[in-house]
Subunit: 503 residues, 2 copies
Amino acid sequence: MEQAYSRIEHQGLKDRVVSAEVAASWIQDGMTLGLSGFTRAGDVKALPHALVERAKNEVTFKVDVFTGASLGSDIDKIFAEAGILRKRLPFQADPTMRKKMNEGEFLFVDQHLSHTSEMLRANTLEQIDVAVIEAVGITEDGMIIPTTSVGNSLIFAENAKEIIVEINQAQTESLKGVHDLYSPGKQGERQPIPLTKPEDSIGTKGIPVNPDKIKGIIFTNQPDSPSNIVPPDAETKMMANHLIDFLKNEVKKGRLSKSLAPLQSGIGSVANAVFHGLLESDFEDLKVYSEVLQDAVFDLIDAGKVSFASGCSITLSEDKMNEVFGHFDRYKDQLVLRPQEISNHPEIIRRLGLISINTALEMDIYGNVNSTHVRGTNMMNGIGGSGDFARNARLAIFVTKSIAKDGKISSIVPFVSHVDHTEHDVDILVTEQGYADLRGLAPRQRVELIIKHCAHPMYREALMDYYQSALEKGGHTPHDLEKAFSWHSQYEKEGTMQPLVTV
Amino acid sequence: MEQAYSRIEHQGLKDRVVSAEVAASWIQDGMTLGLSGFTRAGDVKALPHALVERAKNEVTFKVDVFTGASLGSDIDKIFAEAGILRKRLPFQADPTMRKKMNEGEFLFVDQHLSHTSEMLRANTLEQIDVAVIEAVGITEDGMIIPTTSVGNSLIFAENAKEIIVEINQAQTESLKGVHDLYSPGKQGERQPIPLTKPEDSIGTKGIPVNPDKIKGIIFTNQPDSPSNIVPPDAETKMMANHLIDFLKNEVKKGRLSKSLAPLQSGIGSVANAVFHGLLESDFEDLKVYSEVLQDAVFDLIDAGKVSFASGCSITLSEDKMNEVFGHFDRYKDQLVLRPQEISNHPEIIRRLGLISINTALEMDIYGNVNSTHVRGTNMMNGIGGSGDFARNARLAIFVTKSIAKDGKISSIVPFVSHVDHTEHDVDILVTEQGYADLRGLAPRQRVELIIKHCAHPMYREALMDYYQSALEKGGHTPHDLEKAFSWHSQYEKEGTMQPLVTV
């Protein structure tokens, strides 16, 4: 316990330590909570569990829960099960939460991850009553040092009436110094963000707060949930290879140097596989400017391939977690963690000219991408940062396997059942079949490339059939709206998108 | 003629004057041309006509034509009729061109207006063989002074192998000094754009070029085409009033001051009507940071309501043109014209926190917007700058009349037939019926607001019926994909979206 108290360097705050139960009792019905946490990293762990416990013994109360992105430690699961949510934003990735929210049990607002902070600052979203932030410690002058993610913690702390800090002893104190907290200030009054390279340090090493706002401090000792990405399978490796071939060609054409451009990748196995593929490539002196830093980034640093990585969170597998956080000083000079508003800021993304790699659920023959909704209706996780990146990146690359459910679903369809990324924002599509480079092409030019290089052979003819029938309608983007969603409708009825053979 | 020559201050360039016919003879089959011009302003007039004349007497040749945005002087019309186009980008608004391109006669690439310059610079689009730029004159040190628009002229001049200048004596020399030419440089190597207020001057007063690249100079004497917007009708005025009510409420809530935030508006009658509506409002010291500056902006300057306007072009009605350009010195201190890359730059749009007003073709019950495609198939004009603004603005407002074709078409539909702006980017929808404020709302919350406040009464019940049947499918964004496009299909067959009465 003494060791825990030593993490509170600010003398006046030592007496604010309370149990999670006491802190949970402060939360009132109708409040809006801003919780730290981004892709299972740096989430507060004790207060949410205490809050759910409290809900078991008490008349119903409901709260809005705003976070950076998805939470680990089963928090989104228990929140959803406890029925204490009124509104949740801007992202989640928990199966139980997903089910309940698709059933309409609570409201979910799917936002670009760079937008939440602007809306809080502009007072166009519910203001934060209580910010709850996981910390490595609190400095002498009252700065909160975040742990493995920054997410929206800075704006939550700025915006909140009260702050509860969870000091997590399971998070290494070596994390101190890795954060760079920068707030752009109000729109219309702000200066340019002075970041021109991924390694630029532009802010403070912690979250500066008025200590009076810190109502309580909780001690915890629980590691982050490990990442749940699966190892790459044969198709994933093929996708990674296609993507690397594409990048090699760009270098050959003189459009990119051997150090490419700062890389962003969404969370998941494909992105991880692509990054692993870079290990054996000729590329060198690579830089990462991304949201989540996953296992592969650290392998690339170890191999001397990546010289610097800027992220908003560190989300690792169990083994990698022990390795990285056990020797964090080894990486510290090559890493920085920023607020998601900065990792995902259009100003920076456009300025640096990122190469952006994100996952699609489905794509259509014209290059529109659905990242979120299964059959246009059921939310998977959320758009996350993909829209921040795709609109503004130098290269917006979307990856997906060409089929799902043993071929019963084609990921390439006539018309995506939900549009998250329009044809204007999608440069390159990659599946295990190959890649389609859509840059500067008219819709009719894109169709053939996408069908030939991205669709699975078992669906190519049916896609061409759709396109031929659409061509009879003419138009800049030929469509036959009566048939546009027929693949989805057939799947719903027959359990497959494959052409039905009539005997 | 002597007067014309006096506009070429650079001594070494006076002998490059040629006829339009000679200059047109330099254009070869397969070339990519970069033409000045943005929303009927500052387009080159002589060379395109000479090129089309040449096509009448010669074996077929085809060229790519890149511009700022739409052209006046019937140029897009005669290009389309002459059949000399291979590819056209990034925007057009001519009925003949629209028809031919929807018939697939040539390729059209619909781009965000801030994207073309990045792609040229990154060499991911055909490079410009010949840039043809309308000018007020050429300075002593060889700078080309643009006329009533800047558009993509700076990047075209930078990127082109050769430049042809059209000095248009019909454009007043008082335009000198109103331009601010700034090139951000290559992605990854550039600095922050040092603009923090609409009135900031950050570049040069003309397009700096190596005089050796100027192959020829043509003299013309032909005014821009006047704008073709129609005066506001009753519905348009109602929309303007709703929008102004909304803005007044934002001031009341303390979210905006009486000078609001820099205003952007797309071209068209509604935007013009909204701006006219501001004349009688209490707002004061307004600023404009937009693409096109239309009639109303100058009325607002005259009335002392607008203190500064930054644009990329000036497009006026015939009367207003005479008034403004006849006394341009009166406005010069309150105006600046910038490259479209800067007027539409995400970095600046987000920093200034613009209020962005653009026109929709159709909207759906969840807030997705179609700005471009009639029944998902036929291109109208193009996305223009609406995507640059909507994603990054403080307030992304979309306006449309609730019905079209005497009520046979509802602009509010179950599922838009093409998505240009996703639910994530659309804050406020306005029709003559009212406005729906969608900020921070989940999809199911948006439906009722949109139907109640934006849909025409004659379609409200049918929209609720669709939503009810979709609700049976459940989901975060309930949809019944079999019926999603049934309104569009019925219109195609029956000529109306109105529920058919079965007797």
